[in-house]
Amino acid sequence: MSIPVGASPISEAPSAAQAGAEALGAAVTPTQQLWRTFRQDRLAMLGLMVLVALVLVALLGNLLTSWWGVFDPATVRLPDKLLPPLSEASSALSKDLLPPFHMYPFGTDELGRNVFARMLQGAFVSLSVGIVAVSISLGIGVTVGGLAGFYGQRKLVFISVDSLLMRFTDVVLCFPTFFLILTVVALLPPSIYNIMIVIGMTSWMSTARFVRAEFLALREQDFVTAAQALGLPEWRIIFRHMMPNAMAPVLVSATINVAYAILTESALSFLGFGVRPPYATWGNILADGRSYIFDAPWLFLIPGAAILLVVLAFNLVGEGLRDAMNPKLRKRAG
């Protein structure tokens, strides 16, 4: 190619449809192409490894903390209050209370609970808060965006479906998000599900806009016309033919939204509206730890560093995906 790199500006998000068309010539599937480019981004690969490790830790941790008695994160061991990391359990404990290997890898908190066990349980809970919240926001966003993109021209009495749904999106965008989350979480009864639902219901707007834009572009593509000419039912065109092609930008924003949800949960915990006990999340371990910042800094530093690492990993993977989907960058890399 003689065209210099970066000669043509790409102002909108690259669509998977373009990517697919390009991949035809190279005789690799778009997914393979994506992986090839993604693999060259070292930071993003590092992030991906952290995420894979995190998922393993969260799953294993959930098994350990719920099935192995000595690993119970709620066990109170008052003789062992506020012990620094890597310290040994005191001999005053009865035998069935002793932690595994008689040691606290991350120390203990103000009630003598094993911080390592709490962090393990918190990994699972924090991750599920992020993933459930993002699934909710994806569900709403894809539905609203898909409806607006596909049925946009239909008239409902005096307003078209598209303007109705998009004006509604604008209304939600005008709410001060964090303030709204705070209000609703403070008024609702405290429960982990409410927090997931509220975070999900306040973060779907960008997904809806992306999906709508993709659908508007895809509607004009030949393969959709072909599917319509074959007489396929509408649901099949939407879910089987258009949806997979509209997923690229959605995937990026979903990855970054998980990071955002984990941060929001920790901010809510800080203000006292986070996930309540008995669940431990990284956010509430961090928020509780700040009262002991002088006496037991590990209670504050360990969860903080863990959140930083995981959120950073999600962000790096999201950005890596975005770059890998950008055809301009791909040409350079390939």
């Binding site: 004006r167 005008c174 001060p176 303030f179 209000t183 403070a186 008024l187 901010a267 903080g304």
Partner: protein, 320 residues
Amino acid sequence: MWRFLARTIVQRLLLLVVISIVSHTVIHLAPGQPTEVDAMNPMMKAEDVVRIRKSFHLDEPLHLQYLHWLKDLATGELKSFRDGLPVLPKIWERFLNSLPLFLCTTVIVWTASFPIGIQAALKRGSRYDRSTTFIAYTLISIPGFFLSYLLILWVVRVFHLPVIGLRTFGTESASGAVRAMDRIWHLVIPSLMAALTGIAVLSRYVRAQMLEVLGQDYVRTARAKGLDENHVVYGHALRNALLPFVTMFGLLLPGLISGSVIFEQIFAWPGLGLLGYEAILARDFPMILTLNFVAAALTLLGILLSDILYALVDPRIRLQ
């Protein structure tokens, strides 16, 4: 132009009414009554609860409550549930507290982001670019209050600077210069910490925007003409790269309320965010609703401002 303005303003006002109705419904339908805040108080009898509910119109149907709220807001007689003081003067007073913090943060963010972002774009792929990228992602990924606590400890230990609140307690009798310095320290440090995330986000945008513009044909033409590099970068590229940031300027306004809850809580800064937080804790419905309303109004005003600014700086845009 004028027709566009008139039409958008009418549309935005309608939108504002819809937003206020939605938020009113959400807040009133959520469980948790204002009368239940002090449920354990033995002095609260059932008839007191009825009396309180009656005096605040809480026993009436929702749409009537909404009309009461709207009427009181319009006449400026809206009173807080918590202390019976009028809501609007209270918000104004807190707004004046929030404003310096907001302005200082904004100035720091916008002056720091541009040099950092432009340098990163010019030296794309260099060590400088990669390290600023990584630092920016780290700052975006760190929980705001975690970073602030660590920085507060550091600032207080190393520089012995005062940080919490509007001013140091007990300096009322000190000389003017001492008090002024005290206020400045109390203002600058929270602004710096609040600005860190902002710098990280904005410098990434600047970098992306500059990279895009530097690849354009007219930049190559300018270079081909033999202009010196400074003129190409600042005279041709930067001027065009600035366009999208004009839009962002208007969108800063709503950050005045919702962006500040955490930082005002950390620094005990009596601003709008803290006011909202206290109102939420006390189930102070008129205050919550009015703050929500103000925030939505600021958002809409911000969008309008950015539309107008965009049309002013970019002759290709025609508002219709």
